[in-house]
Amino acid sequence: MFRNYINIAFRNIWKHKFFSFINISGLAIGISASLVIFLIVQYDFSFDKHHKDSDRIYRAVSNFEFSGEVYKNSGITSPMADALRKEGTGIELVVPFRHMDFERKISIPVTGKDEPIVFKKQQDFIATDQAYFKLFSYEWVAGNPAASLQDPYQVVLTESKAKLYFPNLKPSDVMGKEFFMDDSVRLTVSGIVKDQVKKTDFTFKAFLSRATLEKTSLKPRDWTQWNNTNSSSQLLVKLSQGTKPIQVEKQIEALSEKNRIKEPGDNSKTSFKLQPLNDIHFNPDYWIYENRIAHKPTLLGLLAVAAFLLLLGCINFINLTTAQAAGRAKEIGIRKTIGSSKMQLIFQFLNETILITLMATIFSVLITPLLLKVFADFIPSDLTFNFFQQPAIWLFLLMLVVVVSFLSGFYPALVLSKFKPLAVLKSQSAISGGQSKTAWLRKSLTVVQFVIAQVFIIAAFFVSKQINYTLQKDLGFQKEAILYFSTQYNDTAVGRQKLMVEKIKQIPEVSMVSLSTSPPSSVSSWSGTIKYKDGKKEIETDVQFKYGDTSFMKLYKMDLLAGTGLTPADTVSSFVINETYARLLGFKNPKEAIGKILIWDVKPVPIAGVVKDFHTRSLHEQIKPTAIGTWVNASHTFNVALYPQNGQTGTWQSAIKKMEKSWKELYPENDFEYQFLDESIAKFYTSEKNISRLLNWATGLAIFISCLGLLGLVIFITNQRTKEIGIRKVIGASVTQIVTLLSKDFLKLVLIGFIIAIPIAWWGTHTWLENFAFKTNMSWWIFILSGGLMIMIALITLGIQTIRSAMANPVKSLRSE
């Protein structure tokens, strides 16, 4: 029975090669997209799932509220851990650890040599105690959790770290070895554990004993301070069975209330949250140790794209199969007269669908590695696709085949199996009458396809329009031909900076240099409160600060609307404020602001100028009140404006080489890392660019699948109407008239799709644009343009077939009748 079905299925697939091609390629695109997206989603959702009792593990995080703004901190005040251990209830384990944020220098002494082997920029160091290894299970190669993290200067390494530092030693021989951290702390290896194989965000590879922090010079400043919270001070808890997170949150809050010193006038609020382990990988509010935070909306968007592409493929299948049903009618009639039941026929056709879906799936599996390359930007770099070693993929594909086959095969199977044997054996005409319902369904499904494709087109247009807008908008300062680089934030050798500035100035390609905290627009910013008394009432404002020297505003070509600008000084002696701030303070004319006194902290500072508004952040955000001042000690960024590249002044590359040379002389301990400002501003919009690329792909594929379906339908219809076309031509219809006749019905469907798509696309893009404080217009012409584009593509698709059949010699089609 089965072989018979398979045989006839294969012969049918072969007989209708083109339709099979449409069906298989449409489904293959949908399945490939689903597979790739499944891999991504599965990857992100498998983080930290393997720990024992992972549903009872939480991370304690802090939220601070200052004057209405909430600051979220992934850490918790350092003394909290010990207090919670002593006084907490309902907690099985309290696991504090300190993330050693900065890149560390590790030196391995070599016997018989003076110079140690040095590893720079070492990461993944934390300080913790044995509780950490009770919470997360590690396999111990040497040492044990109880003894290995007991005393100061002990360190446990993972195998990979041990291998890196001591490449020629067996793990057991590494035990007891010593090495130096940052040239000052001598550590002794007291244990070796296997590296974590399963996916986790706790990717640490070296574990110092917590006692090392407590008892030595490494002790952090905030170690005993209840009023200070460092995001590196991490606290994990495992609740006892039956304890609710809120109960522990309350205990933490009570401990904080009891121990924190309340200063008068401090209106800030502090609250604590227990963040579930499975939230850590997705929550952008809290830091996860330099690891990538997955973006849930993007994942949901990806899922939607996969579902839509799959739906389009299924629709093609349903449409083409029901349209072709008449061709199968005879076979069905015969099968019924020789004893097939309806059920058996349904099974036969479902089998056929499964076969087609399977072929599409095999094709998808083959092209998936290619797709992973195309979408490398969205895909985590350690995501793997190994078809033969990931049973989850098998399971997913199996499920997909079943679901897709059922979705696309069930209705056609039902339609086909319903044919009355007598009617189909007597004459073919009996079928078309009973088909008005399936014709109607076909039309509706085609409309659905074009709604999806049209929405994708409109959305893609708006997203790229917005990206263009953000990149071309006047930000209030010059961003082209400017590069910048910074010394370390704690570098206080002002003389060295001045020398560097002088050296840069001597480079002929450089037009101007300025020192500042950061470029006008950057990811990080400083802010604080400034008070202003305008005689009657006091205006207290949260203000963003930019510190730069006197050439800062000149270099960035910022417009000074009033006043003289900054005067040379080592610390803040005057402020230039932006228009927004001036307006907020009640000055109708910028000139009124000049000379007025602002109270910064307790220090009176006069306003020396008003600058035209400029964007300090991405266009997602409003322009905030901003003040520019001079503060030498806080200015660690060199802003360098270059002359345009031409023959006379030399290239930018040669300028950069010269700067690097001076840098190496003055800052031998640091690498020279520069950025062009326009490029780093473009990086603000990386996620938008990714969305845009994804949308472009989805749009292209959606159009492709829908048009394939359209082509299939028009081929079918023209074949069915061959005789009619012949007769019409004989009685004098022109090619244009026939093409119009054949295309009209289809174009109507595309138009209906367009009309339905407009409100959906409008709502979708409007919602998306809400993310931006500064956004492009929802121009009506984009809708018209996208609609026109869709209609044109549809016309071309239809034309492929309609023109050919309209040009065909009518004598041929009539003779064969």
Partner: protein, 219 residues
């Protein structure tokens, strides 16, 4: 073997009933070879289809192998049909996408016959009709007579008690027609009940009884 009592079939056209068959009473015994004759539109094919349970009468009683067909549900009818009836068509109605072998095999698939048994039965049938050499050909590669042979082989493979043939020689030349009729005669002698619809007086003479139909009534 089968009995029709007061069988009528009509279509409603507006307020009027258009009768295809009117008050048919018919008794066919096992082993008979009946020919139904009559001009075009007299209701021959409809009668045959009702006998074969492919079509339902508008009213009347229908008994087959002692069971009341008019009281049955579609499922029971098709089970009964599967067991006892083979159909032969004027247009052969082979499945174009299946080979000769597969066409003959298909009815067995619907009766859940085991693979080894199937092979033997189909081989037997191919042998009997001397079409072993054509078993891997598709219908379009055969002549009309050969196609009808395959059609009959397919009808016979399930060893039906009753063969219903709707103008089995209508598309064949006279020599091929004679061969097919000879075959029917032989089958009848082996005990198979045959009912055929035919226009040809000559073909009717192969049978044991002739029923003349005019405007839906037996004359």
């Amino acid at each position: 073997m089968l009995e029709l009592k007061n069988i009528s079939k009509w279509y409603n056209s507006g307020a009027n009933k258009t009768f295809i068959l009117k008050n048919i009473d018919l008794l066919i015994n096992e082993g008979e070879f009946v020919s139904i004759m009559g001009p075009s539109g007299s209701g021959k094919s409809t009668l045959l289809n009702i006998l074969g349970m492919l079509d339902e009468p508008s009213e009347g009683y229908h008994y087959f192998m002692g069971e009341a067909v008019h009281l049955m549900k579609e499922k029971q009818r098709s089970a009964l049909y599967k067991k006892y009836v083979g159909f032969v068509f004027q247009a052969y109605h082979l499945i174009d996408e299946l080979t000769v072998y597969e066409n003959i095999e298909t009815p067995l698939l619907y009766q859940d016959v085991k693979s080894s048994e199937r092979k033997a039965m189909v081989a037997d049938m191919l042998d009997r009709f001397q079409i072993v050499g054509k078993k891997d050909l598709f219908p379009s590669q055969l002549s009309g007579g050969q196609q009808q042979l395959v059609g009959i082989a397919r009808a016979l493979i399930v060893s039906p008690k009753l063969i219903l043939a709707d103008e089995p020689t209508g598309n064949l030349n006279s020599k091929q027609g004679e061969e097919i009729m000879g075959l029917f005669k032989k089958l009848n002698q082996e005990g198979v009940t045959i009912v055929q619809v035919t226009h040809s007086e000559k073909n009717a003479t192969y049978g044991s009884r002739i029923i003349n139909l005019l405007d839906g009534s037996i004359q």
